[in-house]
């Protein structure tokens, strides 16, 4: 009987076997296929960025030269940062998982503009090629922030890399635009704004930032390229430009971009925690509104990257106060997630293990952000490893861990295969231990005065640096293991049930993997996070 069901599932039509051949994928307008294409692409970028990270950590095993020269080292951390931010984290959750899941959650057949969606993907590919061009033509050593005046005078391939980021920006803008229109216009009949799953709220808030902040990055990078090519006199102080203006322009995008990165992560956690606690989400409206609040306040805090750049004292004080303000909606979310787990019927499967890891790591990342938002401490911690540790706790401990949680949560839906739960738990343990060894050490290094981006360091930091590097090897091993068992699951039977976790959102009502048009007939909105029936049937 089970065999018959498995056989039927394997041969029943789904989005993977609806049409065949490489061309049918290259020209597809199906949001699910585009999501899968994004997933493969961003994970490739993650692998590249991760290899650069490991090379950096190997170099830091000893205080002087270990495996590479100083100039190569500068290129390594620049490429690590630029690839991870622009090619991996920003598109990871929205463009890969969001593309696949969001229309399903809304009960829609596709996103609002399917062809624009495909174009976004190809813009990502173009941007990746330009970044590759930057590596081939000599590399970039400016750091991912491209600060002037160094970026306007260095002989590195800054133009290639910035044009890559420019094109990737448009990819991101079009994804955001597409998702806003989808959320507004393509919700299933009966689905009001407050019947939407919280994942959709998070992706929606992200999309607002993508649309409103990214164009400013676009024009900033264009001006930077013009400054390099024509010496137009806006950023280069040698000809009367203002380098701090570049920092303002850059962070006007790139601080909101931090929320482009973390909001989708939070959106995944809002799905995983109620599902594995078998309990209605606590404070639905507060979580939904806090996403929007983070998106809006996030536009007003960019100056906290520039406390030591020569901003006026009044400006720094205001930016510091606004920075504390943005902590409130983030904390609201964390308290609501914890309250959801309280007295819940918790099961510790891989997505939930990652979600709990997220709560711990994001709490540390968020709280250390308060040290850095406070003027008196930031002056000392600015440009030290403390900052590096802080944003890795938020970006990797937050977003990437949430991304992996989401990847495990929706893996059966996307591929139709169940992965090995045992290996998944081992992978999660290795990632969690490795991550904390790598980055908690860097808080200590930073508070003792280890500056970031330095090639050499004082001998006294060697034990901590080495410990951090060993941690990164464990982290890398954990991620490698994760890749292995996920890929291995694809060779197994198509055994994923329709709803393996007992989720209540609409994507769990269609088969795994879904049919080409998502649902048989038009689904109607349900109350999300109502687990009463689920608990009865699963117990």
């Amino acid at each position: 009987m089970a065999n018959a069901v498995a056989y039927e599932q394997k041969h029943s039509p789904n989005y993977l076997n609806a049409t065949r051949g490489i061309w049918s994928w290259m020209t597809t307008v199906d949001h699910k296929r585009i999501g899968v294409m994004y997933l493969v692409s961003v994970l490739t970028a993650f692998l590249a960025g991760g290899i650069f990270a490991l090379l950096i950590r190997i170099e830091h095993l000893t205080p002087k030269r270990t495996i590479m020269g100083a100039e190569t080292y500068n290129q390594m951390f620049t490429l690590h940062g630029a690839i991870m931010v622009f090619l991996f984290i920003i598109p990871s959750v929205p463009a890969a998982l969001g593309n696949f899941v969001m229309p399903l959650m809304l009960g829609a057949k596709d996103v609002a503009f399917p062809r624009l969606n495909l174009m976004s993907y190809y813009l990502w590919v173009c941007g990746a090629c330009l970044a590759l061009g930057a590596i081939v033509t000599g590399g970039v050593d400016t750091g991912w922030t491209f600060y002037t005046p160094y970026s306007t005078t260095t002989t590195g391939s800054v133009t290639w890399m910035t044009m890559g980021a420019f094109v990737l920006g448009f990819s991101s803008i079009f994804t955001g635009l597409n998702f806003i229109a989808t959320v507004h216009k393509l919700r299933a009949p009966g689905m009001g704004w407050f019947q939407m799953p919280l994942f959709v709220w998070g992706i929606y808030a992200t999309a607002i930032i993508q649309v409103l902040a990214t164009p400013v990055l676009g024009i900033t990078l264009l001006l930077l390229v013009m400054e390099r090519a024509f010496k137009i006199g806006i950023f280069d102080p040698a000809i009367g430009g203002d380098p701090v203006l570049f920092q303002h322009f850059f962070w006007f995008y790139s601080h909101p971009a931090v929320y482009i990165m973390i909001l989708p992560g939070m959106a995944i956690i809002s799905e995983v925690i109620p599902t594995f606690s078998r309990k209605t989400i606590f404070g639905y409206r507060m979580i939904a509104f806090s996403s929007i609040a983070i998106a809006l306040i996030g536009f007003l805090v960019w100056g906290h990257h520039m406390f030591v750049s020569g901003q006026s004292e009044l400006a720094t004080t205001i930016f510091s106060a606004l920075t504390f303000l943005v902590a409130i909606p983030s904390a609201i979310k964390v308290f609501n997630w914890v309250a959801t787990m309280y007295k819940g019927n918790i099961s510790l499967e891989a997505p939930m293990l990652y979600a709990i890891s997220f709560l711990l790591l994001f709490a540390i990342g968020g709280l250390t952000g308060i040290y850095l938002g406070a003027l008196s401490t930031d002056v000392h911690l600015h440009d030290t490893y403390f900052v590096v540790a802080h944003f890795h706790y938020v970006m990797m401990g937050g977003t990437v861990i949430a991304f992996i949680a989401g990847l495990h949560y929706w893996w059966p839906k996307i591929t139709g295969h169940m992965y090995s739960e045992t290996w998944a738990r081992w992978g999660c343990a290795l990632v969690f231990i490795g991550f904390n060894m790598t980055f908690f050490t860097q808080f200590i290094l930073g508070s003792r005065g280890m500056p970031r981006r330095y090639y050499n360091y004082l001998d006294q930091f060697q034990p901590l640096h080495a410990f951090s590097s060993y941690g990164s090897f464990i982290l890398g091993g954990g991620l490698f293991l994760t890749a292995i068992y996920l890929l291995a699951s694809l060779r197994g039977p198509m055994n994923a049930p329709v709803n393996p976790w007992g989720g209540t959102t609409l994507e769990w009502q269609t088969q795994s993997p879904p049919i080409e048009h998502n649902f048989e007939g038009q689904p109607h909105a349900t109350t999300p996070y109502d687990y009463r029936e689920v608990v009865e049937t699963h117990v």
């Binding site: 829609a108 057949k109 996103v111 635009l177 393509l186 164009p215 010496k231 806006i234």
Partner: protein
């Protein structure tokens, strides 16, 4: 299988309706929302240039004042009038589509394209005049010593009018595409969303010029 049949039946009369929309109204509203969002990104794209211009002007007020005297106000004024007329012809084009006036739609689209070409022609004369006098951006500027910072004004002048010019070129492209579709009789009161969307885009391009003209040519 039955859903697919129903689906085909529903969309059988309206070939423009994409499969993921329930009806034409939903599709039109979605497209319009998408266009408005795109226009918002355009405003922010130019917004960066406006802010940069403002800050540089505060830094070098005398240089910007002296430099802007080199611009030919009558030609700038002429182009403003041309674009205002093109906005009117565009509105009339949309109105014609909505009222099933096929011939009028084609005529107004051609008039709009003509206005855009006139604008670029005038811009060509202005640019060549600047080129002759060495009033060029950045390191190509030769009209006066670099130390007086007038070159910064021309950097912004060429960046802003240049980016705007590319938008005019893009406008000519989409207007031509719409015109060719109009000639095939694709638009009627039942379906004219593309005309509407191109109209919105064209008005934004005009509006940006309405801000550029006084900022660059007139304000002292």
């Amino acid at each position: 299988m039955s859903t697919a049949v129903v689906h085909d039946h529903e969309s059988g009369h309206e070939s423009h309706l994409q499969h993921h929309f329930a009806d034409s109204e939903q599709q039109a509203e979605t497209s319009k929302l998408g266009m408005w969002l795109f226009l918002a990104t355009e405003i922010l794209l130019f917004g960066g240039l406006f802010v940069g211009f403002g800050i540089s002007q505060i830094k070098y007020p005398e240089a910007f004042l002296a430099a802007h005297e080199h611009l030919q106000k009558p030609l700038g004024f002429l182009n403003t009038v041309v674009l205002l007329i093109s906005s009117w012809t565009m509105v009339m084009g949309v109105w014609s589509a909505r009222n099933n006036k096929q011939k009028a739609l084609q005529m107004f689209l051609l008039l709009t394209i003509a206005c855009a070409l006139i604008f670029l022609g005038v811009k060509y004369f202005e640019y060549s005049h600047k080129f002759e006098d060495g009033l060029l951006p950045g390191r190509f500027y030769t009209h006066s010593p670099m130390s007086d910072h007038q070159f910064v004004f021309f950097s912004f002048y060429f960046m802003m009018t240049g980016l705007h010019g590319f938008h005019i070129l893009g406008g000519i492209g989409v207007l031509t595409w719409i015109y060719l579709r109009a000639r095939r009789g694709e638009f009627s009161s039942a379906y004219y969303t593309p005309v509407d969307l191109v109209g919105l885009y064209w008005h934004l391009v005009d509006m940006i010029w309405i801000y550029l003209f006084p900022l660059l040519y007139l304000i002292k």
